[in-house]
């Protein structure tokens, strides 16, 4: 029962993160939202694999965690490099 509750909570949190990603207002808010979304997906997959009783899915959760981290680093490095090369981000 608590497992189901956890899944529902996770879905609600994902909805909130999605909402934040839509309204922004800041680019970093969106990045944060995507990151939050990613970690919640990891938990969701883990929880669902227990709900299903097939722990094979845990590999997928692990990959999500990895990929999520890489994309955050990617965003940061890239926004930053852009700031250095083009001060003030001339195109918006």
């Amino acid at each position: 029962m608590t497992l189901q509750l956890t899944v529902i909570t996770l879905l609600v949190v994902m909805l909130i993160a999605l909402w934040r990603a839509c309204i922004g207002p800041n680019v970093f808010d969106r990045v944060l939202a995507a990151n939050l979304f990613g970690t919640k997906t990891v938990l969701l997959i883990a929880a669902i694999s227990y709900l299903h009783g097939s722990p094979d899915f845990l590999d997928i959760a692990l990959v999500y965690a990895l990929i999520n981290y890489i994309s955050v680093v990617g965003v940061l490095r890239i926004t930053e490099l852009r700031n250095e090369h083009a001060p003030g981000d001339r195109r918006g």
Binding site: T9, N26, F28, L43, D59, A61, E80
Partner: protein, 111 residues
């Protein structure tokens, strides 16, 4: 039986923390407040939920994988929060007041 209870409590605590973090993420006024809300709760909430799941399973392989995920999240989540806040600061995002309108005065030495 005892373990089931522990696992249930851990899951509930984790869910509660998640929800509070998300609420903060939704409602707080500026970026730094929001990253504070979810960055801080996230680590503990994730640990609670993963531990709760770990207790539920009875074979070694999934437990090991869960531990790996936990370890990874414990490493990566604070790192990315830190880096995100730093990048936002470098990009010129500044803290704002409670309604998200006025920029707050900065401490001396910053610009």
């Amino acid at each position: 039986m005892m373990l089931d209870w522990v696992s249930g409590v851990l899951l509930l605590v984790g869910s509660f923390l998640l929800l509070t973090g998300a609420l903060g993420f939704l409602r707080f006024a500026d970026f730094y407040a929001r990253i504070h809300a979810c960055g801080v709760t996230e680590t503990l909430a994730t640990s609670c939920i993963l531990l709760g799941l770990l207790i539920q399973s009875d074979s070694a392989v999934p437990q090991f994988k869960l531990l790996l995920i936990l370890l990874f999240v414990l490493l990566s989540s604070p790192t990315s929060s830190h880096a995100l806040a730093k990048a936002a600061w470098n990009a010129g995002v500044r803290p704002r007041d409670n309604r998200g309108k006025q920029p707050l005065p900065l401490p001396p030495g910053e610009h």
